[in-house]
C-alpha cells in the first residue's frame, strides 16, 4: 500500500481514538461502577436534606416523580388485575371505609355503618361534602352504581369481582344512605370494601366513557388524573377540593404535592439508576443487592413496607401421584431448605414465610415460625417407606417410573422466583427427585386448564384471612380446581366458619387452626414474605403505606 492512502483526515483519527477510549472506559466501568454510585446527578443540584430539616413543616407544592416497575393495565379500579395499578388508583379514588394496619376498619367516604342481624346487609351513612373530580356529587346513587358496575358482566371486572363477592344488590335509602345486600354473610366483606379495587367511581364519567373510562378515570381521590402516555408515564395533579382524607393520613385537606408523575421503568438497573442520577425522586421494587447500598447512601433513603396477604408459596398438586400421599409431600417439606433459599437470594432483606398467611394479617399464627426444619435423612426415609428406591442414576424409581417433579412458575424472574426454582432443583437432587422447571407466563393453560404441574409458586395481596378460601376450599363441581388441587373436609369447614364467624376471638382461633392444618398436612411450602421497597431521594418526606403495603402520597412533600 502506498503512503498516499495512509494519511486519513485528522477528524477521522480523532473519531477512532475517541471510540477506542470509550470502549476501554466501558470495559473498566463494568466491574467497578458501583463504588462511586453516589457521585453526580443531572437534576438534583441541591444538597440532601439534613435530618433537622426533615422535622420542619411540610413544604407545599412540587412534583414527585415515582418510577413504577411495570405498566398499570387499567386505571379503572373495577377492571384492573395488577397490584402496580393500585399504586396509581389509590391516588385517584377513595373507598367507603379504610383499614388500619392492625386490621381495624374506620370511616372514610362512609361516616358510619350498621350490619343487619343475619349479617347479610350493610347500611352505610355517607359523607355529604364530597364531590367527584368532574363535579358530580357523591351520594348513595354513586355507591350503588359503583357496586352494581363491578358485578355487571359488561364491565369485564377482574379482581374486583372476586373481592366484591358475595355482594348481590344495593338499595338507596336516601340521598346519603345506602344499603348493600349480600347473598350470604361474609366477615371479609368490610375489609374488602376498604380495598382500592372497590373504589367508588364517578357515575357520570363511567357511563359516558364506557370502555374508555380507564383512560379518563374520575374518582373522589386526593389527586386528579391528568394524562397517561402508554408505557411512559401517568401524571396526576392535586385535587384542591379534597377534604375527606381517612384517619390514616395526617393531612386532612388537599395533599402537599402539586403533581405526581409515575414513570414506567421495567428494567431494574435503569429504575435504580434513575434514582441515583436524580432523574426520578423515588423508585419502587429495589432488588435485594441494591437494598443494602441504598441503606448506606447519604443522598437517598429506603422505605420498606410489609405486604399483607398470602406470601410467596409453593403449592403442591394433590391430584398428582405421588404427591397425593402425605409422606411424599412431607419429604418435599423436609427436603427443601427454605431458610437457605431466602438467605442466599435476598441477602437478609426478605423475611422467610412460615404460614399460608403473611405476618400482619388478622389471625396470623406466629407459633408456626421456626417450626418446620429441613431434615434430609428423614425426607429420604419417608420416600423409602413409600417404595421409591434410588436408581442407577441416583433418581428414585418405583414400578419403572422415575420420581420427577414438574415445577411451574408464571413470572419472568420477578423477585428472583426463577432462581428459587433452580435452587429447589439442586436441593432435591440428593433426595433422588428430578425437578423439571417450566417458566411460563401462560399459567392459565398449564396450571388451570391442563393441570400439568406438581409444584406451582404464587402469592397474593389481600386484607383478610378469608383469602385462604379461594385457594384451599374444595371447589364446586365443574368449577376450576383450587391451587393445591385439594379437597379436605376438615379444612373446608374451618374456612366456611372463618368466613362467617362474627366473634373476632373465635374467628382468629379458626384461622390459626386452618394455618396449622395446612402446614401439618404439608399442603404447601411457604417461601418468603415480599416487602414493598421504595428507594427515594432524601428530599422525599412523608411517604406512608397502607395496611396492604401500598404507598400513600397525601402527606408527601419535597424538602429542598
Amino acid at each position: 500500500m502506498s503512503k498516499a492512502y495512509s494519511k486519513p483526515a485528522v477528524w477521522m483519527k480523532m473519531t477512532s481514538l475517541a471510540l477506542a477510549v470509550t470502549l476501554v472506559l466501558a470495559g473498566c466501568s463494568g466491574g467497578g461502577g458501583k463504588s462511586s454510585a453516589n457521585t453526580g446527578g443531572n437534576i438534583s443540584g441541591a444538597a440532601p436534606a439534613s435530618s433537622a430539616e426533615q422535622s420542619s413543616a411540610p413544604a407545599q407544592g412540587g412534583e414527585l416523580s415515582y418510577a413504577l416497575a411495570t405498566s398499570p393495565d387499567q386505571l379503572d379500579p373495577h377492571r384492573s388485575g395488577l397490584a402496580v395499578a393500585v399504586r396509581v388508583i389509590r391516588t385517584l379514588y377513595d373507598t367507603l371505609v379504610v383499614q388500619l394496619p392492625g386490621g381495624e376498619i374506620k370511616p372514610w367516604l362512609a361516616t358510619e355503618w350498621s350490619i343487619s342481624e343475619d349479617g347479610k346487609s350493610y347500611t352505610f351513612k355517607l359523607r355529604q361534602d364530597v364531590k367527584f373530580q368532574d363535579g358530580t356529587p357523591f351520594n348513595a346513587e354513586a355507591v350503588k352504581y359503583s357496586f352494581d358496575r363491578i358485578i355487571d358482566p359488561e364491565t369485564k371486572a377482574a379482581n374486583a369481582l372476586a373481592l366484591v363477592r358475595p355482594y348481590e344488590s344495593s338499595e338507596v335509602i336516601d340521598e346519603f344512605t345506602v344499603k348493600l345486600n349480600l347473598s350470604e354473610p361474609s366477615q371479609a366483606f368490610l375489609g374488602n370494601v376498604s380495598q382500592a379495587l372497590l373504589s367508588i367511581v364517578s357515575p357520570t364519567a363511567a357511563k359516558k366513557d364506557g370502555d374508555q373510562f380507564t383512560k379518563h378515570p374520575v374518582g373522589t381521590g386526593p389527586f386528579k388524573f391528568v394524562k397517561w402516555d402508554k408505557n411512559s408515564e401517568i401524571v396526576v395533579e392535586k385535587n384542591p377540593d379534597y377534604n375527606w382524607a381517612p384517619e390514616t393520613v395526617s393531612q386532612q385537606g388537599a395533599p402537599n404535592l402539586d403533581k405526581i408523575i409515575f414513570k414506567i421503568v421495567p428494567e431494574e438497573a435503569t429504575r435504580i439508576g434513575s434514582v441515583q442520577s436524580g432523574q426520578v425522586l423515588a423508585a419502587e421494587t429495589v432488588p435485594p443487592q441494591n437494598i443494602l447500598s441504598f441503606k448506606n447512601d447519604a443522598n437517598s433513603q429506603l422505605y420498606q413496607a410489609g405486604t399483607v396477604g398470602l406470601p410467596y408459596t409453593l403449592f403442591i398438586n394433590h391430584s398428582k401421584a405421588p404427591w397425593n400421599e402425605l409422606k411424599a409431600r412431607q419429604a418435599l417439606q423436609l427436603g427443601i431448605n427454605v431458610e437457605a433459599i431466602v438467605k442466599t437470594l435476598y441477602l437478609g432483606t426478605y423475611e422467610q414465610a412460615w404460614s399460608p398467611l403473611s405476618p400482619g394479617i388478622f389471625g396470623y399464627d406466629a407459633s408456626l415460625e421456626g417450626g418446620v426444619k429441613p431434615d434430609i435423612e428423614k425426607a429420604k426415609q419417608l420416600l423409602d417407606e413409600l417404595g421409591w428406591k434410588a436408581g442407577a442414576d441416583g433418581i428414585r424409581e418405583k414400578d419403572g417410573k422415575k420420581l420427577t417433579l414438574h415445577y411451574v412458575d408464571g413470572s419472568p424472574n420477578r423477585e428472583k422466583r426463577n432462581d428459587i426454582a433452580a435452587i429447589v432443583q439442586q436441593q432435591l437432587k440428593p433426595l433422588g427427585i428430578q425437578v423439571d422447571v417450566e417458566i411460563t407466563k401462560d399459567v392459565a393453560t398449564v396450571v388451570y386448564a391442563n393441570n400439568n404441574y406438581d409444584l406451582y409458586g404464587n402469592s397474593q395481596v389481600n386484607s383478610d384471612p378469608n383469602a385462604l378460601y379461594s385457594i384451599y376450599h374444595t371447589t364446586a363441581p365443574g368449577a376450576r380446581q383450587n391451587l393445591p388441587n385439594l379437597s379436605d373436609p376438615e379444612l373446608d369447614k374451618l374456612l366456611e366458619d372463618g368466613a362467617t364467624e362474627q366473634d373476632q376471638t373465635k374467628r382468629e382461633a379458626i384461622y390459626k387452626e386452618a394455618q396449622q392444618l395446612i402446614i401439618n398436612k404439608a399442603v404447601i411450602i411457604p417461601i418468603y414474605v415480599f416487602p414493598y421497597t421504595v428507594a427515594a431521594s432524601k428530599k422525599v418526606q412523608g411517604l406512608a403505606f397502607d395496611s396492604l403495603g401500598y404507598p400513600i402520597f397525601n402527606d408527601v412533600y419535597i424538602a429542598e
Binding site: A37, P266, A449
Partner: protein, 308 residues
Amino acid sequence: MLKAVSVRLYTSLLVLVGTMVLVFCIVNVLPGDPALLILDPSSATPEMIANLREQLGLNQPFYERFGEYFLHVLQGDFGKSIVNSEPVLQKIVEHFPATLALTALSSLIAVVIGVTLGVLSAIHRNRWIDIVARMVGLFGISMPTFWSGILLILIFSVQLGWFPAMGSDGFSTLVLPAVTLGFVGSGFIVRMVRNSMLEVINEPFIVTLRAKGLPGRFIMYKHALRNALIPALTMVGVIIGDLMAGTVVIETVFSRQGIGRIIADAIMAKDLPVVQGVIFFSAIVYIVVNLLVDISYTLIDPRVRRTG
C-alpha cells in the same frame, strides 16, 4: 426502471399478504386462552370465561376469524386491544414516531461509524486503525444490547450525569438508546464495508486507474468506495429491520415509548389484535425500507439501471 420498481411493488404485496397469513396462524395456534389471561384464573367462574370468549369472538372457527380480520385490515381496521379496548391502529400511530426516531438515529450512527471505520480499516489494512475498527465491529456484534445499554446508563447517566437514564421526551433521552442500538449495526457495517473495499481495491480496474497515475485518494473515494457501497447498502436495509426488532429490548431497557414496548407487552398479555397489528405494520415498514434500498442502488450504480 419503472418496470423494475413495479415488479418489486408487486412482490412486496405478496410478501405482505404472506406475512399476514403467517402471523395470524402462528398467533392463533399458540397455546393459551386470552380469556383466561384477562380474567383472574383463581376467581373467575366458568360462565364469566365463556362470556368473555364469546365477546372476543374466540368461539368462531379459525377461517371465519381470519376472513373477518383480513377484510377489516383492508379497510384499515386492525381491531381493538382486548386488554384496554384501544384501537390497534391508533396505538401504532401514536407510538410509531418514537420508534422511528430511535431507528433513524441509530441507523445514522451505525452507517457513519460503520462506513468510516470500514473504509479506514480497509485502506490501512493491518495497521492500528484496522485493529481498532475490527475490535469495534466485534464488540458491536457480540455485546447484547440489554447489557451495553445498562452499561451506558451506569457511565453516562448515573456516574457522569450527562444524559437521562430513561424516558422518551426530547433529544437527550434519545442519545443513549440510539448509541446502544447504532453500535450493534455499525459492527455489521464495518465488517461488510471492509471486506468489499478490500475486494474492490484489488480489482483490475483500480490497478488500471492507479497505473494511469490518478491520485490515490481520488481512486479510493470516487471509484473504490462507490463500488464497495452496494453490498453495504443491502446490509443497511437488513440492519434497519434488525434495529427495529432491537427496539423491543432497548425501549424496555430505557423505558421509552414505542411499538417495541407495545408488542412486548401485548405478547405477555396475549393481546392478539395488537400483536398481529404491530407485526403486520412492521412488515410494511421493512418492505418499504428495502424497496427504497433497492431503488437507491440505481442511483449509486448505473449498471443496475440497465440490468434491472
